[in-house]
Symmetry: C2
Subunit: 188 residues, 2 copies
């Protein structure tokens, strides 16, 4: 095996991962990031969002390419189904965050994963957003995540990896905690 093979596990370059951790320990300011998305209304409930630039490790950066995603409502919700609903993107964000964390944590703990699947389901009562029942919240009432994880470790160890991923997940924290959101409007 080459050096790369020895330090790369689950597709994660653990040498770089640990070096990044050491670099942030030495210079905590490097960990201050700002992520952004820019959305343009198309028509009706259809909009198009672009993700490209971000700030991190002390400077403005860009993804290697610009990512563009349409969002819409399905016909049953008076849209044209040009993309997922906004609330579905939240579920995708949660699943991908927990999955990425799991792969990183498994790599750091020397567990080789062979399969990870994650399904997320969110229950929502649209009487909230439709303004028909003030006792119903606008957002999800609950979200259930179901993981299937396989790798070269006992079941208990694999469950610990998922638990640690939950413990350190940014999107899990956004959904289960409260994030202050401010809104500014320009009309001219």
């Amino acid at each position: 095996m080459t050096t790369t093979d020895e330090t790369t596990r689950n597709g994660v370059d653990t040498a770089t991962l640990f070096a990044t951790l050491d670099a942030v320990k030495a210079a905590p300011e490097a960990a201050k990031f700002q992520f952004r998305s820019s959305t343009e209304w198309v028509t009706g409930t259809h909009s198009r969002g672009t993700i490209h630039g971000f700030f991190g490790v002390g400077e403005e950066r860009t993804h290697e390419r610009s990512f563009t995603f349409d969002a819409d409502h399905p016909a049953v919700l008076v849209g044209q189904d040009n993309g997922p609903t906004p609330v579905e993107f939240v579920l995708h964000a949660l699943a991908s965050c927990l999955t990425a964390g799991l792969a990183n944590i498994a790599a750091a703990r020397k567990v080789r994963l062979t399969e990870v699947r994650c399904t997320v389901a969110g229950d929502i009562d649209l009487n909230g957003i439709l303004g028909l029942n003030p006792a119903v919240r606008n957002g999800y009432q609950d979200i259930t995540v179901r993981f299937t994880v396989r790798g070269d470790a006992p079941a208990d160890k694999l469950r610990e990896l998922v638990e640690q991923s939950r413990e350190r997940s940014a999107v899990y924290d956004v959904i289960t905690g409260r994030v202050p959101v401010s809104i500014e409007v320009t009309t001219d």
Copy 2:
């Protein structure tokens, strides 16, 4: 003008919108939806999520097509930049939710919009998810939404539309409120 022209505003068929509201008023159970995303780990921080089926108005449904989105970390976060980070999808979800709501509300209130742009920025200190500072949360510390809205109404009215969209936004509620999330793990 045809009947369609009279009831369609901002690309929103307001007749259908109001009919949907009446239908839900008559049968509140119809508003119980479940949305889902299914994610498969690819390698490292790279995963692929699929959004297709959902439940609503009393039955299982599917989007007209299956939507697939890759998520990853950029190189500076030890990934390969095959997609946005999970936390960026959260910002996209917020912008698209507020924008869709704005178009619907404007249509219902007989305001014709000519332009809507929405940029969302989220500040996050990765000392949280890296486990380097227990005082730092994992998720965004704050999120700022900036709207540019133009249409055939005075500035105050346009601002009211944005405020009402915030008031009825599912994703805004998920981010600013707390949603319970349960996680189940299968390992065999």
